[in-house]
């Protein structure tokens, strides 16, 4: 077998050393740094992206928190404003009710006074008319002309009875 022919050993070993050292230089100076660099870069890129994603997520959560806080504040404020407005309206309505009630009471009182007066006047004129009518009836039926005082007394008596 040619493998056991020692005449070729020197050449094989020499070229093995030369080519192996050459390949070692290519691998250690060229291949490994360049391949390592690209792998490292990718690792770094991925790590950076992940970091950014984490940061953005934190920012988003912060924004959501502040938004919710603002929303709650706005809600509370709206509630306060609503309550104040309701109070104001209720107060104004109360006052107006009171004023209107007072005005109405005044008008009712005035109206009642007027009615009372009108009734008194009406009653007075009823007495006059009754007196007149009684005097006229008496003069027609009996041919008498009673004086004013008698007629008045008679009318007063009847009105007291019917009252």
């Amino acid at each position: 077998m040619p493998q056991f022919d020692p005449t070729t050993f020197a050449s094989q070993l020499f070229w093995l050393a030369v080519t192996f050292v050459l390949l070692f230089i290519v691998v250690s100076r060229f291949a490994i740094p360049r391949l390592g660099e690209v792998l490292e870069q990718r690792q770094k890129l991925i790590a950076d992206d992940l970091d950014r994603a984490h940061q953005l997520k934190a920012e988003t959560e912060e924004a959501i928190r502040s938004y919710e806080k603002a929303l709650a504040e706005a809600r509370a404020k709206a509630h306060d404003v609503l309550r104040a407005a309701q109070d104001d309206i209720a107060k104004a309505a109360d006052e107006r009710n009171k004023a209107v009630n007072a005005a109405l009471a005044e008008q009712i009182k005035q109206g009642e006074a007027r009615i009372g007066k009108a009734r008194d006047e009406a009653l007075a004129s009823v007495r006059d008319i009754a007196g007149g009518a009684a005097a006229a009836a008496v003069s027609r039926l009996a041919g008498l002309s009673p004086d004013e005082a008698t007629v008045q007394a008679a009318v007063s008596g009847v009105m007291k009875e019917s009252a």
């Binding site: 077998m1 040619p2 493998q3 056991f4 022919d5 020692p6 005449t7 070729t8 050993f9 020197a10 050449s11 094989q12 070993l13 020499f14 070229w15 093995l16 050393a17 030369v18 080519t19 192996f20 050459l22 390949l23 070692f24 290519v26 691998v27 250690s28 060229f30 291949a31 490994i32 360049r34 391949l35 390592g36 660099e37 690209v38 792998l39 870069q41 990718r42 890129l45």
Partner: protein, 244 residues
């Protein structure tokens, strides 16, 4: 028909003066040419793989990265972080043996890993290197390799010779494994291919099918032996660095 071992003959490509005796060491032979070709193929491959250095790798770059990670993980898993010092050497070793085995599969090419001189030289360098690393790191304690902690003292007369023999046989097993695998595979291919020719068009179909299958198997064995050679180097390195 040519002898099946004729393919292993080392012949000078550039005529060189040698009077029947040994070739001079500088003689450029078919073996030398295959080694130089392996270095060139590796260089072109690394150039293609690292030309763009893109974040999203192309085909060549993806293969280069897989190779890089493959060897790096092999060292990390078998040796640990401290073994990364020897990453360039282990990487070179794997690439050299792997491309040597693959180039040998080309018709009319030469398989330099099928020569005991080449595999033995690499194995001896690895053996000496690992032994030196072991003594440099652990000093006299490295001799504990031959007598593990906890073993009863009475077993020393048996244990120490066994451990010593197994340690000293490493370069032999390492070199013979690769040399024998490559040699036998190529002889088998040659013999079976000879049957295809001698049995003619009709009868040759069966050996042709077998040769086709064996060729695929040989590619697999070539890759596997490169892996085995490299991982055994890692295991020896682990013994030297961490002891066991």
């Amino acid at each position: 028909m040519a002898s099946p071992v004729e393919q292993f003959a080392v012949k000078p490509i550039i005529p060189v003066a040698h009077e029947g005796g040994a070739l001079p060491f500088y003689a450029f032979t078919n073996s030398s040419a295959a080694m130089v070709a392996a270095v060139l193929v590796a260089t072109v491959f690394f150039w293609l793989a690292t030309r763009k250095r893109a974040v999203v790798p192309g085909r060549w770059q993806a293969v280069g990265e897989v190779l890089f990670d493959f060897i790096a993980n092999m060292i990390r898993d078998n040796v640990g972080k401290e073994g990364m010092k020897y990453f360039p050497f282990v990487f070179t070793l794997f690439v050299f043996v792997f491309i040597g085995n693959m180039l040998g599969m080309l018709p009319y090419s030469f398989t330099f890993t099928s020569h005991i001189a080449v595999t033995a030289a690499m194995a001896v360098v690895i053996f000496l290197g690992v032994t030196i690393i072991g003594f440099a790191r652990h000093g006299f304690h490295y001799l504990h390799m031959f007598f593990p902690h906890g073993a009863p003292l009475a077993t020393a007369p048996i244990l120490i010779p066994i451990e010593l023999i197994s340690y000293l046989s490493r370069p032999f097993s390492l070199s013979v494994r690769l040399f024998a695998n490559m040699t036998v595979g190529h002889i088998m291919l040659k013999v079976l291919a000879g049957f295809v020719v001698s049995l003619g068009v009709v009868g040759g179909i069966v050996p042709f099918a077998v040769v086709s299958g064996i060729t695929v198997l040989e590619f697999f064995i070539g890759a596997l032996q490169a892996y085995v050679f490299t991982i055994l180097t890692c295991i020896y390195l682990n013994d030297a660095i961490n002891m066991h």
